[in-house]
Symmetry: C2
Subunit: 356 residues, 2 copies
């Protein structure tokens, strides 16, 4: 098989621990399916600030650009939280998205049956919940001009939210394409009753919809969406929205599943290139203890196989292995009901590798 | 007693029906407590568009300005949804907030014990939930410059989010003051890792905090807050945040109580003037049927008594009456488990009036 290059970025906190397990999964799928991966590690986030003085060293960016896909652990931690903007991990995150053209963030929020109880929602409300938030990732208020200015009324801060019709169109298409492979329902979320960018967003989504007559489209205001996610999560299929709203709604959606330690995400650009990472953060409080849950990162590998490499057989094998291990009752501390029986990061990784 | 002037705005949909019950409550409190109210009605929202060609006629604004407080039903409906901006009900809403200087929106999210089951959250998670969202209401991206422009890459839309240090300071003080009367915990929500307005927000809140050493302050990022509201709603006391985040989070918080037909809100400016309205909308689908739940509007009267008039005795009497009627098992359709036993809007209003 063709050798696939994967840039591996461990990052901070529990990042290196969960990435180590994901790498074992890569090796095992090479053995079982005959695929070939070449991995190259890059420094990113807090550790890159410490060692190179910047969260996103050029060298790391080069490694990513040469690769077919990027596997990311997690970045950030209290150590760097009060740094000036240029030397904060988040700045690296925004920088890598922009530099790699990753305009689309895909976040599946699914319920793991054996973890249903971990949700704060009633099980009957969660039944059948299986949604994806498609978030625009390189535009909007995140990347618009920002500044301070002195006025007669004192200091003022300004952020600018900008959307170009092409930016909206490409993410809308992404939403429709994904909906097409699923239950064919797309919910576009905006604040068209207040924002000009939202009005452009809505017009554009409606225009693009003409090319997807098989997909049912509806428009929901962001405040209402925050409510409906709670009230009837299972009624959503694919949600497409702009950067800031997507940040909020995708986290709400993830949390309502109760399975946040299990959720993976993909950030995609044009073509098949993508960056894959767990939804959870770097969890500095439990870093280095060998107790982090590696499943979200392992499932991010499966997502990479599906979306970037088209290795559906290996993806299915990983997903099946995870399910098997969970069904057999194995749990890391974050998802264990009986914490005394929890197993560690490596043990969980080993069990999944063995089940592939 | 001094005569208090109340501007009454019924608005659209179920607005007139729920306002009629609130007016009966006003009359009853005059009788029982000897207070004196003078009400004057104004057209606003869709009905004002139909009758006067604008959602916020000058005459209505004048009535509000002369009044000590405003009682609002609800505005909007599908009939006006596709109107151009100037003749949409929302434009009236934004206009009245700005014109009356209502910079602070107060939304208590409380659990009514008898309605706990109506929430999609597990009852044990809801236990003890009693929070208030204090939302900045006349600044931020809602009121910043908005426009379209043609670029080499096609059309572009722009919204501007602006916050002045004074705007942040006054809403921060509002948050601290309210927290001081409660459990003394203030959570300031921002996106300081991305937005300049949020950095100004956070700095300012920290500065103001020096005047409130008795209030415990923490800062939570908006995406994390959307998650934590779901995970541990009872850990929040007062949340203070900017306009757009407040729109989303206050709706999320309202929905998680399961009691959205019961929640009231206040929009305040400098001094004691305020506009009071139910959190729910105009519900055009059930308008005119006499089945709407008037409780949120009646509780908005109680909130007006507390916050604008300082009539704590009458406020307590109304709140107690509502509790009594609910405890006796009376329910409107929206909150009834057995819908066949549901009572109508007028019957519910009459029962509450009788219990005062
Ligand atoms: C860390 C932060 C800049 C980032 C974002 O807001 O995009 C994070 O919340 C995320 O969702 O990936
Ligand atoms: C109707 C709309 C403009 C309004 C807002 O976003 O402020 C509403 O959602 C609210 O929360 O009062």
């Amino acid at each position: 098989a063709e050798v696939k290059k994967i840039a591996v970025i461990s990052g901070d906190g529990i990042g290196p621990e969960v990435i180590a397990e994901a790498q074992k999964v890569l090796t095992k799928t090479e053995e079982v399916f005959g695929y070939k991966f070449e991995t190259e590690h890059g420094l990113f986030g807090g550790i890159a600030i410490d060692e190179k003085g910047t969260p996103l060293p050029q060298e790391t960016l080069d490694i990513c650009k040469k690769a077919d896909a990027v596997l990311l652990g997690a970045v950030g931690g209290p150590k760097w939280d009060n740094n000036p903007k240029e030397t904060r991990p988040e700045t690296g995150l925004l920088g890598i998205r922009k530099a790699l053209g990753l305009f689309s963030n895909i976040r599946p929020a699914v319920i793991f049956d054996c973890l249903k109880d971990a949700s704060t929602l009633k099980p009957e409300v969660l039944d059948g919940t299986d949604l994806i938030v498609v978030r625009e990732l390189t535009g909007g208020i995140y990347f618009g001009e920002k500044f301070r200015r002195e006025t007669a009324n004192g200091q003022e801060a300004v952020d600018t939210c900008v959307y170009n019709v092409n930016e909206v169109e490409r993410i809308a298409r992404q939403g429709f394409e994904i909906a097409r492979t699923r239950r064919k329902k797309l919910t576009s979320v905006d604040k068209a009753n207040v924002l000009e960018t939202s009005r452009l967003w809505r017009e554009t989504v409606i225009r693009v919809a003409a090319d997807y007559p098989d997909v049912e489209l509806d428009h929901v205001l962001v405040d209402n969406c925050a409510m409906q996610l709670l009230r009837r999560p299972s009624s959503f299929d694919v949600i497409v929205t702009e950067n800031m709203f997507g940040d909020i709604l995708s986290d709400e959606a993830a949390m309502l599943t109760g399975s946040i330690g299990m959720l993976s995400s993909a950030s995609l650009g044009e073509g098949s290139f993508g960056l894959y990472e767990p939804v959870h953060g770097s969890a500095p409080d439990i870093a280095g203890q060998g107790i982090a849950n590696p499943i979200a990162t392992i499932l991010s590998v499966a997502l990479m196989f599906r979306l970037t490499f088209g290795y559906h057989d290996a993806a299915a094998a990983i997903e099946r292995a995870v399910k098997e291990v969970l069904d057999a009752g194995h749990r890391t501390g974050d998802i264990a009901v009986d914490k005394s029986k929890a197993i560690g990061t490596t043990a969980m990784g080993d069990l999944i590798v063995a089940a592939i």
